[in-house]
């Protein structure tokens, strides 16, 4: 599953990231690395971008970039 497919309010864990894109290095600097648990907090009214929370921080990014992040759902 990809991060952009997670529903609002659901949690998931990062399994893999496509680091061939420069944006992913920046995500990694924020601590978004394989193994990290994240929650899908909001989706913007027009469907894009999305907001995620992890480790007490909140980031927003577009679906395009979120699709580079592979995740697996985490049971609450």
């Amino acid at each position: 599953m990809r991060l952009d497919q997670i529903q609002i309010g659901r949690r998931c864990r990062v399994t893999a990231i496509n680091f061939n894109h420069a944006i992913c290095q920046r995500l990694a600097n924020f601590g978004l690395l394989p193994g990290q648990e994240i929650e899908m907090a909001q989706v913007a009214p027009l469907g894009d971008p999305i907001a995620i929370t992890f480790e007490g921080q909140k980031l927003s990014l577009r679906r395009r970039e979120a699709a580079l992040v592979e995740v697996e759902p985490v049971a609450v």
Partner: protein
């Protein structure tokens, strides 16, 4: 003097601490990227004064945007004129310890003595958490101070720690890298040795290894092949370790930090206040339907308030103006030219402009509120999609939103945009945002022509619409620029959403004070200067025979058919006397230099319904658009349209009629003309200061292009509005 740099992630309170330490007042605000330039100040420490440097926030030393670059360059001593700092104060958001330490670990590689300020300590406590400072100090090896930047708590401790750090020279222990990384660093060093102006530091070499397109590569002047080869080889070895080179640094560093921070963050009793509520507020503010509604409602309320709250204050300023005019006019009675310069020129012109001070203050009150609560980043989130299709992104939105206050800080704020091309496009469209200098024009015209007829709610709506016009042009303009001129790829959008905070009254008042000061200074300088020039061009020449000639004609027309009325002229307040003096004034102004210029240019603006007086106002406003107000004030007061019965410019304008031509006798300011003027001002690039700042950021060539573009689109817009408007209304 010692140099002390404040560095840290964006929005961690560096500037707040800087202000506390230096006693200065730099702008703070609750979104990442308020500070985009380095700021210097002096802090008085126990062992004497020291230079403090406030830097833009950075997430990492990879420096993906221009403002981050400044921070990195200062730290490595590459910024001309700024010495490499002797001490760094790493400002860390205590509620986000791990991520903030990631940057600190990178800085550790520089070997500069460090002090850590654990700022936002109050926010940490509010979440019911605590950090074991003693233990953390032991593990990191540098002094750590808990601070609350906005309340000034922990500042004296921070001062002491900085003084001590100067003598103790304690540096943050850098990470221990796997042998493969060290080997790669050595190899790159060998390849680059002697091929750079200044030898590369280990930190810089690590940037070469870890970053996809490091700016450090620009510093290598020759031997590129070898350097590149050594980088690739190093990355290959990382892969063999099972690490993706692009993520290696983050993976290794976060692993290191996880171990380092084990057990340091503690639950402080049971959470007294629980989480800070940001999530619940966002559930509403960013809600699919409610979010957009709230956004639109908020914007509408802002403009409605700007429009309607200022009324009484404006009346006050206006009353003051009339009073001063009366007094000064009395004093200067014996010298008609001086009297005219002072009352019709300076006081009328500057006063007509100064009336709008209340509006500016109210607008900045709201902008400060939006910024300080943390809503600005949410606005960017809500609007990103709307902007995305034209090559802009949510990050362009923040500079553009600042552009609603003033284009200059907006243009500077684009430094947070990583991609140089996207930044260029944003700079080019930011001046289209309706800045506060346009506000007086809208308020004047809407107040004179929309409100009396259609009521206050329509006036608020009109004001709101005028603020969107620029945006409606900016979006397609950006689209064309990105598609055909600058050709940018869609930019990723990555924005941290800060926690909501209660705005501090003093910060809000400070923003209003600064904006007010700026406004008054402009009134006293550029507006004053142009007003005097406009007055002179309208007052001169004064041909000797003109008054007699006009008087003779007036007699022939009014007195000769009815000789009894001649006695009325002895009373200076009689209708006939007033008409005579108005006729004389009008005759003078009609042959003035300005009228000649205006009439020569007027045909250009005729399709937009402008008469020569509006044309003069438009032309005079190119250095600074607010000049239109004072110019119209001067033109109409000199032109004899103003007398004691016309209390203000609004009434004067609504009474103005065409004096000659096919439309003689009908009002000049019809609704289509009014909107044509407003649209012209909304779109036109009439601000010398903005042009200068743009030139500094992107060069004169682009500025010239943008000027021509905006002027033509403004003219086109005005003509369109006037022609369509008249067609519909007739």
């Amino acid at each position: 003097m010692k140099h002390i740099a404040l560095i840290g992630n964006p929005n961690t309170g560096k500037t707040s601490l800087f202000n506390c330490l230096t006693g200065m007042r730099q702008r703070v605000g609750n979104y990442p990227g308020v500070t985009v330039e380095k700021k210097l100040g002096t802090a008085y420490l126990a062992d004497g004064p020291a230079t403090m440097i406030d830097l833009p926030g950075a997430y990492s030393l990879s420096a993906s945007s221009l403002d981050e670059r400044v921070a990195v360059d200062v730290l490595s001593g590459h910024l001309p004129g700024i010495e490499r700092p002797d001490i760094v104060v790493c400002v860390i958001d205590a509620t986000n310890l791990k991520r903030n330490l990631f940057l600190a670990m990178q800085i550790a590689e520089l070997g500069i003595p460090m002090v850590i300020a654990l700022n936002l300590w109050d926010a940490l406590e509010q979440r019911g958490l605590s950090i074991d400072i003693v233990e953390l100090e032991k593990r990191l090896g540098v002094p750590i101070v808990a601070t609350v930047g906005r309340k000034g708590i922990g500042i004296s401790e921070l001062r002491d720690a900085i003084s001590k750090a100067a003598t103790q020279e304690r540096c943050l222990a850098p990470m221990t890298w796997p042998a493969e990384v060290n080997e790669a660093v050595n190899n790159i060093h060998c390849a680059a040795d002697g091929h750079t102006a200044v030898p590369l530091t280990d930190m810089e070499v690590r940037r070469l290894l870890f970053d996809a397109n490091s700016a450090v590569l620009d510093r290598v002047q020759s031997n590129h092949e070898k350097v590149r080869a050594s980088i690739s080889e190093g990355r290959e070895n990382l892969r063999k370790l099972g690490l993706n080179p692009m993520a290696a640094e983050a993976v290794l560093c976060y692993k290191h930090l996880d171990k380092l921070l084990e057990g340091v963050i503690k639950q402080a009793g049971d959470a007294p206040n629980g989480p800070d509520g940001t999530e619940s507020i966002d559930k509403l503010m960013l809600h699919r339907f409610a979010g957009l509604l709230i956004f639109a409602a908020m914007m509408y309320v802002v403009f409605q308030a700007v429009y309607s709250w200022a009324g009484p204050l404006m009346d006050l300023v206006d009353g003051l103006k009339g009073w001063v005019q009366g007094i000064v006019g009395g004093w200067l009675e014996p010298w008609p030219m001086m009297s005219s310069l002072m009352t019709d020129g300076i006081i009328e012109g500057v006063g007509a402009f100064a009336i709008f001070l209340p509006q500016i203050l109210i607008l900045f009150f709201f902008i400060a509120l939006l910024e300080d609560t943390g809503y600005m980043a949410r606005a960017a989130f809500l609007m990103d999609k709307l902007f995305g299709w034209c090559g802009l992104n949510g990050k362009s939105f923040v500079p553009m939103l600042s552009g609603y206050a003033c284009a200059i800080p907006g243009i500077l704020a684009t430094r947070t945009i990583e991609d140089p091309k996207a930044r260029m496009v944003t700079i080019l469209v930011t001046p289209l945002m309706s800045c506060s200098a346009r506000l007086p024009v809208y308020v004047l015209l809407i107040g004179a022509f929309v409100e009396p007829k259609y009521g206050p709610w329509a006036a608020g709506l009109a004001l709101f619409v005028m603020h969107i016009v620029g945006l409606l042009v900016a979006v397609p303009a950006a689209y064309i620029l990105t598609k055909f001129v600058i050709k940018t790829k869609p930019q990723p959008f990555l924005l941290e959403m800060p926690s909501y905070r209660l705005p501090r009254m003093q910060d809000v008042l400070f923003r209003m004070w600064m904006a007010g000061k700026e406004f008054v200074i402009r009134a006293g300088t550029i507006i004053l200067a142009i007003t005097v020039i406009v007055w002179a061009l309208l007052y001169f020449p004064r041909p000797a025979g003109l008054e007699d000639e006009v008087t003779k004609e007036f007699y022939a027309e009014h007195i000769e058919p009815n000789p009894a009325s001649a006695s009325l002229l002895d009373d200076p307040d009689s209708e006939l006397s007033v008409e005579l003096s108005n006729t004389i004034d009008a005759a003078y102004i009609n042959q003035s230099f300005m009228a000649r210029i205006g009439k020569a240019i007027q045909p250009v603006f005729a399709p937009a319904g402008f008469d020569w007086k509006i044309t003069v106002g438009v032309v005079a406003s190119f250095p600074a658009r607010e000049v239109i107000i004072s110019t119209l004030g001067v033109i109409y007061s000199l032109g004899g349209d103003v007398d004691e019965e016309s209390p203000d410019l609004m009434t004067t304008l609504s009474n103005a009629t065409w004096k000659e031509g096919p439309r003689a006798g009908t009002p000049i300011f019809t609704l289509p003309v009014v909107f044509a003027i407003m649209v012209f001002f909304a779109l036109c690039q009439q601000c010398g200061a903005t042009l200068a700042v743009m030139a500094k950021e992107i060069g004169w060539k682009w500025v010239a292009g943008s000027f021509v573009f905006q002027t033509s689109i403004a003219w086109l817009g005005a003509v369109l509005v006037y022609q369509l408007g008249t067609a519909i209304l007739s």
